[in-house]
């Protein structure tokens, strides 16, 4: 029995429900040798900033139990180089592309949105507000409803009208539903959740923080229960808001947990480091799982965990 796995994130129609997670798939090109990147829902790019950025010193990662911690520091060559080389390649390749953007302050987010307005072939924008606000003591935008909403409103103001905007939330908050409400109020069409958890690993030899950046982001299957809980809470509070779920997805079963919790689509991140063909493999596994549960479409399974058994 064929299963309809098409889905949507607000206005963004997707033929398939599995996407790459920002920062875990480069600009798509690196993974194309391992699977057909046009066969998944979309490629979400590494977060793009206005200017080239060197990122943090090494070591930038440590393996942790069923996860990893990273402090890459948003390394990238800046929006102009991205548009000229990476986005151009993605368009030529025919991959649906969601551009993740990150700024050091509210205005930079707006400038990024305005710049993207002038280019073709962008399916949507993911707003990475889980980065520090240089203008405000490095406080992470996503950790406060006010700053989170400010960024989203600024992007909405400058982005191409009608382009789907996903606000990416951080789990490092007391009340993620409050943040979700704020960014939707501010004009986001949907939510991407979750970003990494703030963590630290102490080097067993030097007894000092292992990462060049001292703290880093925890990701991978270790955090999956936190991510599923966050998606479940937000979907319960605002069932009409589309959610791109992520956090530790390694198999189709994991992906289905997020769909059942209320996600309309999912992103795969750290699992790619373990298996570069993970996104398409997981999409195929998810399709089989949905069929095995007797659903004829993915849509029928979205949020089912909230309905009485």
């Amino acid at each position: 029995m064929a299963v309809d796995i098409s889905t949507a994130l607000a206005r963004l129609q997707l033929p398939a429900p599995v996407l790459t997670a920002s920062g875990c798939a480069g600009y798509g090109r690196e993974l194309d040798p391992y699977f057909d990147i046009t066969a998944i829902g979309a490629v979400v790019t590494k977060s793009i900033m206005l200017e080239p950025r060197s990122g943090r010193p090494t070591p930038r990662m440590a393996e942790t139990p069923s996860g990893m911690i990273n402090s890459i520091g948003l390394q990238g060559s800046g929006i102009e180089s991205f548009i000229e080389h990476d986005l151009a390649w993605l368009r030529k390749r025919g991959a649906r592309t969601i551009v993740s953007i990150a700024g050091n302050n509210v205005l930079e987010f707006g400038r990024l949105a305005r710049r993207l307005r002038m280019v073709e072939g962008i399916a949507g924008i993911e707003i990475n507000i889980s980065c520090p606000n240089v203008a405000n003591r490095g406080l992470v935008f996503a950790c406060h409803a006010g700053s989170a909403a400010e960024v989203v409103a600024e992007v909405r103001k400058h982005a191409a009208p009608g382009i789907p905007l996903l606000a990416k939330l951080s789990p490092d908050v007391t009340d993620i539903v409050e943040i979700a409400h704020a960014v939707i109020e501010a004009g986001a069409d949907g939510l991407a959740m979750i970003n990494t958890l703030l963590g630290m690993v102490i080097d067993p030899v030097t007894l000092r923080p292992h990462l060049g950046g001292r703290t880093g982001g925890l990701s991978g299957p270790a955090i999956r229960p936190v991510a599923v809980r966050a998606v479940y809470q937000v979907h319960a509070a605002m069932p009409q808001v589309p959610i791109l779920g992520m956090g530790g997805i390694r198999t189709g079963r994991d992906a289905l947990e997020f769909i059942a919790a209320g996600a309309s689509a999912v992103s795969v991140g750290t699992a790619i480091f373990n298996d570069p063909s993970a996104p398409l493999r997981i999409q195929n596994e998810l399709t089989d799982e949905i069929a095995a549960h007797g659903f004829t479409s993915l849509r029928a399974a979205i949020g089912i965990a909230h309905r009485p058994a």
């Binding site: 690196e30 080239p52 070591p59 990662m61």
Partner: protein, 283 residues
């Protein structure tokens, strides 16, 4: 570069290392000296997610059994300990060949190969390749102690000269490869230095090469999470053709770099003049 399953066909001790032979029926691209393989470790219920990278020691194209890929593995942490403990028959997920291999000279110029510890793994195939091109091949192999030397006999067979060093003097000269390298290069009039080993060694070798005007080809070893270019963890500061220093990925732009292009003193940092430095916080 392709991803495939490979069966462990042999696992034997060589000094303090294990020589692992994997067989795969998959079609894999041509393997050149300096290419590496990235393996998933620990099995399906393992707490270890990240890939482990190993220089490809040898790869033999399609035998009846399939293609064989040989690695020389030093048990360091949990992943390599798991790997060397596997019985024959264990099937692992492998991605190979990865990275940019050693660049070979167009002319038959004298070359010197410098290896530290398991850094000798790719050198035997490289020596063969260079000999087949008519290059003179001198070899310097070093390690902290005798049991951590690898490939001395194989290399001796192929090299015009071989010099062995150990930090503790248990074999050959007591000292570092960089102590004996200048003499070797003077005697052989080496035009190219190929090096694989710890960062400190590569840095010293590059210095020696620079002083003699030889080209240094260094295979670096930076901590890697994915091996395929998507995680950005394996970067080091490298000077581009435009003279600009960038933090480049050693898994895709390397692991082999020209010694005079790597900012050895700045490895583990982001030099102030690197493109996009200094970083503000944020991951």
């Amino acid at each position: 570069m392709s991803q495939f399953r490979a069966r462990l066909a042999a696992n034997r001790a060589v000094g303090e290392y294990r020589h692992l032979v994997f067989i795969t029926s998959a079609e894999i691209g041509p393997v050149r000296p300096g290419h590496f393989a990235a393996l998933a470790v620990g099995g399906p219920d393992s707490a270890m997610l990240l890939r482990r990278a190993f220089s490809i020691h040898r790869a033999h194209a399609k035998t009846s059994a399939g293609t064989s890929i040989e690695l020389i593995v030093s048990a360091k942490g949990p992943g390599t300990k798991w790997l060397v403990a596997q019985p024959e028959g264990t099937v692992v997920d492998m991605v190979a060949p990865l990275g940019k291999p050693f660049q070979l000279p167009k002319q038959a110029v004298p070359c010197v190969l410098v290896a530290g510890g398991y850094g000798a793994a790719p050198m035997i195939a490289l020596a063969e390749e260079l000999r087949s091109r008519g290059c003179r091949v001198d070899v310097v192999v070093g390690a902290s102690t005798e049991s951590k030397l690898y490939g001395v006999l194989d290399l001796k067979r192929m090299a015009d000269s071989i010099t062995v060093t150990t930090d503790d003097g248990t074999q050959g000269f007591q000292g570092l490869v960089s102590d004996v390298l200048p003499d070797v290069m003077r005697r052989a009039d080496s035009a190219v230095v190929y090096a694989c080993g710890p960062m400190g060694m590569l840095r010293a070798v590059s210095k020696v090469a620079a002083s003699t005007g030889a080209i240094a080809q260094c295979a670096v070893e930076e901590a890697m999470a994915c091996g395929v270019g998507v995680c950005m963890t394996c970067v080091l500061p490298v000077i581009g053709d435009d003279g600009v220093t960038r933090m480049v990925r050693s898994c895709t732009d390397g692991p082999v770099f020209r010694g005079d292009r790597v900012r050895w003193d700045a490895v583990g940092t982001v030099p102030d003049d690197a493109l996009g430095a200094p970083t503000s916080a944020g991951h």
